[in-house]
Every structure is written in structure tokens, then in C-alpha cells.
Amino acid sequence: MASKVFGSAVRRKEDPRLLTGQAKFTDDFTLPHMAHLAVVRSPYAHARVKAIRTKKAAAMDGVLGVFTGKDMKDAGFGPIPCAWVVPGSNAKTPPYPPIALDVVRYVGNAVAIVVATDRYVARDAAEAVEVDYEPLPVVVDAKKATEKGRPQLHADVPNNLAFTWTVAGGDVDAAFKAADVVVSERIVNQRLIPNAMEARAALADYRSATGEVTLWVTSQNPHIVRFLLSLDTGIPEQKIRVIAPEVGGGFGSKIPHYPEDTMVIFASKQCGCPVKWTETRSENYRGTIHGRDHIQDVEMAAKKDGTITGLRATVWANMGAYLSTASTGIPTILHGLMLSGAYDIKNIREVVHGVFTNTTPTDAYRGAGRPEATFMVERLVDLVAAKLKMDPVEIRKKNFIPPFTDGHAVATGLTYDSGNYIAALEKALQILDYKALRAKQADLRKKGEHIGVGFCTYAEICGLGPSKVAGAVGFGGGLWESAIVRFHPSGKVNVFVGISPHGQGEETTFAQIVSSELGVPVEDVEVFHGDTGQTPMGWGSYGSRSTPVGSGALMGAIVKIRDKAKIVAAHLLEASVDDVVYGDGKFSIKGAPSKAKTIQDIALMANVAWNYPAGVEPGLEASAFFDPSNFVYPFGAHAAVVRVDVETGEIRLERYVAVDDCGRVINPMIVEGQIHGGVVQGIGQALWEGAAYDDAGQLLTGTMMDYALPKADAFPTFELAMTETPTKVNPLGVKGIGETGTIASTAAVYNAVMDALAPLGVSKVDMPLTPERVWRAVRDARR
């Protein structure tokens, strides 16, 4: 393998178009005679729709049509399917009509749509649609929603329980009975709004003559969207082309198949012209999925010496008003199965209640279930340490799973692939200069300054995943990946992949792989993705799977190309295939390296086939599919140093150290970028972000003026380092890195703040750690 390209910080191929404004995001497309769609949304969290009067809107200049849920239903457009229903959980999947039929169940639920020649006119007309609502009682809190006598969202879903799922391993009750210490905590892992900088958009072009539709949509997984559209629009799958053009971030929020996807198709069909819908940010805050929103009652049992023996939890996971595409898998499979963290906790039991409430539906948001698990474990570990007066580092060292390279089974039933947790922590401690830091902290405390150090030593599950497992856990699709490598006569290469990156840079990293493995310059490789009309079937980009799974498929195609190229080379070199060896882009005869053909020579001959081995197909193209044998389990140790102004409650992040291990690194520049961004998102949850509803179900953080996103001036320069523990799950030994930062940083920063406040007697403040909450906690502790 040519190591120059693999493992080096190759500048991104994606950048020139993005830096010059030439990239085309969904809203950048304009088709001839294109109309604009605006959605009339419910201002009530729960109400019966008594009447919709559309006449005034329909009569406005430029309005092509006003449609209701009934219109869509009558035209054969069905409810939006939930595509992940966890088995054994008594799951209920009440229908989610794209436009509400008789009852609206969250603020932002669609009640009508307007199509007009201009986006301003569409908005004017949407404002002119009159809807009579009969307000119904509202419930927004997941735990309360399960109590008797609370408002019920759906018929046949008693107590709003969408599902109840249990994970158990070992004998947890015995562990707690035998424990020397038990700590318990009520953790609210608050609701977050994903906030991809590009809100959603969808543009449909339906041709009545052929019954074909093309949908440009902000999606992380166009093939899944196509599959689901074939179920709810009635248009057969082969007549649907879904294109995810440039996509401006997703973080999970562009996984789901959304009502608006079908609205624009319906409207294009009805109006006989292309129809585009572009979400505003305020609409995005109500109509695009939210993430997290758990109420967790957690207990941890340990021995006097710090050995953690058990974890027991009950979780109320707020699903919102309907089950979004992947929703039920997030607080279960991606959460509950990771409760052993980086430790050997022999006895674990968790019961998860998925609950309907009058809020925007929740689904995967960066980390998706794992941040909620990691926070739970890492916080409780600190509480045990505090109770035993142990250093948070020592308790972690004591409980780590020892280094392993060939799999390690944990109590929840998973088998981690490889790990060396102690090495990552030691590296972080060294960067921190931990002893000196603690000494400085003690000094400053004497002066009345409040500095805190916090850790998060995580292990996470990603690289989703073996399709067999996907099927067993109720995921409504496969989780393999695909790739086509196509050599042109000139020796240049196109790669077509089923993944759908939207900022992660796989156009570059996959070109690096092709370059390293086949001896083609990176600039000679173009990677295509995100268009079902052009790329092979694949399951998309989420769950940090694009590189670990997608590169497996790419490697499969590369091996096929190499094997075929060897046959052609043998023919051209007049040698036996067994005597041809490959190295550095050249196929040569064993022992006679001067006699060689480059991959470009072979690509030319394979494409023209003038002088060609008998019985061999012309062309140099290979297609491969890869279904991994296991998930991958990246890990690391993150540490934060914070300063708290106890007078105002303000928190300043002074240092952040991140040591991560994602196996082998293809492009360190891109890996670091993923960590930076992930860390900031996780810190956002700890310090600023939180979607808040009032009791009437109104979103109090309904615009970017209210929902606080991390800004540049809140951060120091992060200190990053890597360890490298390859996996055997895929050919390149790579693990995912898209979510680790988010999974780790929330707990690291939270633990640091609690460490700073510990001398004041504060050990708990709900997230986000706003100044007011910190100030109140300090004040109350002093009373």
C-alpha cells in the first residue's frame, strides 16, 4: 500500500465549488415554470381541526392551489411510515398523515399547503388560509404523559406508551444488594434542535406522461427516501429518482423521510409543474426532528475499592407526537446496549419507555442514543468516585476493560471489536499535565477561584452495521454498503457510492483510498454520491458508517479491479497470471520489475479491448457490496478545564483535551475537523442548548434568537491527540469518527463544572448549565 496518500492531509476535493458559491444546494435549483409551496402549520400543540377555509387564499393572484390532508389522502398519498420498529417492545405506530386529517398533535403540524408562482405569494396565501381549531389538553413531559388521567395523543395507545423496551445482563438486583455503595441520580438529558445550517428543502418534478418523479431533497440517505416514498406516494420505486445534491449538514436531522417530501410530489402532480418547498429556520425548529429528551432515573452500585458492579435505570424517552423514521431505535439499540461504556459492568438493566407527547417528533441527532448513555455512565462514575473520595481518573482506570484486539463481550450482549482505553486516558493525562493541574486547582481554590477538571472516557458503537443485526433489531432495511469503481480509457476514475456524505469529505477520503490502492493520482478520481439515478443502492450516511462500511465496499471493488487488471496485465506482458504482481500502481512480472504495465495502460486496453485475453469481459469496472461482520467501537478520553464565576453563574471553558481512537486514519485533517465539530456540539448541550416547551406545548426557544448555538468566541483552541487501535471488522481497519466528539464532550464539560462547584456542595445542575441554574445551585447549597 502506498502510504503517502493514505494517512495524509490531502486537501479536500469538495472545497473549490463550496468556496466559490458554485455548489448547488436544494434551494439553489430553479426549474422552468417552478412553483413554490408554503405550509400552513398548527399554532396549537393539540387541537381538533374543525374547519379549513381556503377560498380567500385560493383566489389570490399567483396561487395555483390550496390543499388539505383530505386532498392528499383522496389522491392516494398515505401516512409517513416509521422505518425502525424495535421488536419485543409492544410498539405502537399510529399513522402520521403528511397533512393532519382531523387532529393536530404538535405546534408546527401541517394542516394545509399552498402552491403559488412566487415564494412571497405562497406565504401570503398561507397566511390567508383560515383554520378553526378546537383546542385539546396538552402534555409535553414524557414521564407525566404516562400517568393516568393525562391527555391521550392517539387512540389505541394507552398512557401514550409508544413502546417499552428492556435490556438486561447479569443479575443486577443481586449486584445492588451486595454493593458497598449505591449512587442514584435523576438525569434530564434535554431536548436539542439539530440545526444543520442548511434547513430542509424539497423540489419535485412529476411527469404525468410517464408517472416518473424526480425529487431533489436535503437528505442523508436518498435511497431510503426513495424506498419509503414508494410506500407512501403509490409511485413505484423504479419511477422515483431521489437526488440529495449538496447538503448543508444533517447531524441526523436529514435521515428521516418527512411529510414535505410527499407534499411537493403531490403538489407537482396536482399542479402540473415542478414545486419547491424551502423551510425557514423557525419552521425548522417546529417541523424538523429534535434529538435527545430523556428523563433518566439511574443507579450505580460499586464495591468499596471502586469496582463498579451494577447499573440500573429507567428511562422515559420523549418521542414527540409521531414516530419519525428511525426514532424507536435511538433510545433503545443505540442507547441501552452501550450502558457498559468503556468498563466491565457485569450487571446491567434498563427499561426504556418511548412516550408520545404534544411536541415535535424526535429522532437521531448526532450521537443518537450514545450521548445519552455516555452521559449517564460517566456522570454516575464520577458520583461513585465522589462518594468513595476517589480521584475520577483512578476509578476509571480501575474499571476499564483491559486492552483487547479480538473482541470483548459486555453484559448488554454486544461484542466490542477492539480497544485500549487506558492508553487513551494516559495520553490525555499527559497532555493535561494532570498532577500539576490539580495542584493549580487547589491553589486557586484557596484564593476563592473555582476551576474544575472533568473527564469522559467513552466507548461508542457506530459503523452501522451488520444487516443481520439490523433485521433482528427491527430496522426496516439493510445496513451494508456498495461501491462501483469505473476506469475510463484515459485512466481516470469515477467512483459511485451508496453513502451520501454531506460535509464529511468522503469524496476526498475515498479518492485517497483509490489512489493508495490502485496507483491513481487523487486528482484523477471523482466520487459520485447522493443520486439514486446514478449511484448503486446504499443505506446512506449516519451512525458514523460512511467510512467504516462504505470503504469496505470500495475495497471490495478495488480488489476486483486489481484481480481483473492482473489478468489483462498478464496477457499484455505475455506471462502467466500467477507470475504478475501488483505494487505502487504497477503490474509487473515477479522477479522482472522492469517489465510492467501501469493501471492506466490496463485501463486503456480494457476499454478498447484491441489486444485482450480471450474469455475476459471488456471494460475495467467493478461493483461490490460490503456487509460488515460487526459494528465498530471507537473510543477515547476527553478532558475539560472550566472556570466558574459563582457570582454570575457564568462558565468559561479554559482547556479542552481530546484523545480519540478511530482505528486507522485515512486523512488526519478531516478526522480532526470531525472531532472539533463534534466536541463543540456536545459542549453546546452541556452549556447552552435546550429546546423548551411551555405547558401549552408552545416552543419557547422557537428561533435562533432564543435557541443558543455555540459561537466561535466561546472556545479555546482544543488540544487533540490520537491513538490507533485498528479494527478487524473492515478491510482498512477504520472506525467512525463523526460522532465521538459529541458523545464525549457533554459529560466531560459537565463533570468539570461539577468538579469546580464540588467545594460549594453542588453536585447537580440540570443541563444546559445556564448562568441562572448555576447561580441558583450555588445559592441553594450555601443556604
Binding site: L19, Q22, D28, A196, M197, G249, L709
Partner: protein, 154 residues
């Protein structure tokens, strides 16, 4: 009601009759087809729509097209000259200051304005100077590095 505007965009004088309520960003994107300027919010927070108005960074979503009468505007499309990237664009690529690229046009133009006013900014100056631009991908670290790199190149 329509109102005549005459605006110089990326060096070319453009004249149109527009509705007064037309936002400058929609004038650029839809009337002129310059879709590099993006809309990321509706409350003037995100900065994705930032353009240079007579050399100063402004949010084109919080301005009517008619208010730009007589002004000279630079959008991201006007930054590279003769196919050569502007030093700020080059530095963003060099330092991996972008991922999904949606905030990038606004971020780059704000950086241009920042460097115009302060050619040798510290990290703190850069972070403070970018407080009106949100990025959800990069965590800002490489954007800060890119602006520093651009300062060194300019």
C-alpha cells in the same frame, strides 16, 4: 408596487424593478441567480447570507433590495478573480475551514471584512469577529486557523 433599483454586483451594474419587500438575499439568489449567498435563519443570527456592501459585511437577509440602491455588493461569486481563489478562500481550503460549506460564503466574506479592518488579528480578535456567523460543522477551530493563514498570505 414595484421600485427601480440600480445596484453594482460583483462589478457589474444591475438594474431591476423589484417589489419593495424583496429581501436583498432573494434579489441576489433569485433575481440575479447568484445562489452562493445562503439563507440559514430568519432572525439575523447565522450570517450565512453575509455579503460585502460597499466593503462592509452585512446580512443580506436583513436588508431590502431597495435599500441597496446605488451600492456596490460583493458576493462569494465575485471573490475569486480570473479563476484564482482569493487568499481567504485559499486559506479556508488549506486549513480545512469548511465541511458542509453552507456557512462558508458568509464566513469567508466576514473574514475578508475582518482582515480589511485588522490585518494581523489575534485568535481572540478572529473569534470575536466571527460572532455573527454560525457554523455547525467545524467547531470553528479550523476557521480561526484559516483566517490566520489568510492574514499571513495577504
Amino acid at each position: 408596487m414595484r421600485f427601480g433599483v440600480s445596484i453594482t454586483v460583483n462589478g457589474a451594474r444591475r438594474k431591476h424593478e423589484v417589489e419593495p419587500r424583496l429581501l436583498l438575499v432573494h434579489y441576489l439568489r433569485e433575481t440575479l441567480g447568484l445562489t452562493g449567498t445562503n439563507v440559514g435563519c430568519d432572525t439575523s443570527q447565522c450570517g450565512a447570507c453575509t455579503v460585502l456592501l460597499d466593503g462592509k459585511a452585512v446580512k443580506s437577509c436583513t436588508m431590502l433590495a431597495v435599500q441597496a440602491e446605488g451600492a456596490s455588493i460583493t458576493t462569494i461569486e465575485g471573490l475569486a478573480k480570473n479563476g484564482k481563489l482569493h487568499p481567504v478562500q485559499e486559506a479556508f481550503r488549506e486549513k480545512h475551514g469548511l465541511q458542509c460549506g453552507f456557512c462558508t460564503p458568509g464566513m469567508v466574506l466576514t473574514a475578508c471584512h475582518l482582515l480589511e479592518k485588522n490585518p494581523k488579528p489575534s485568535d481572540a480578535d478572529i473569534r470575536h469577529g466571527l460572532e455573527g456567523n454560525l457554523c455547525r460543522c467545524t467547531g470553528y477551530q479550523n476557521i480561526v486557523a484559516a483566517v490566520k493563514e489568510a492574514a499571513a498570505r495577504m
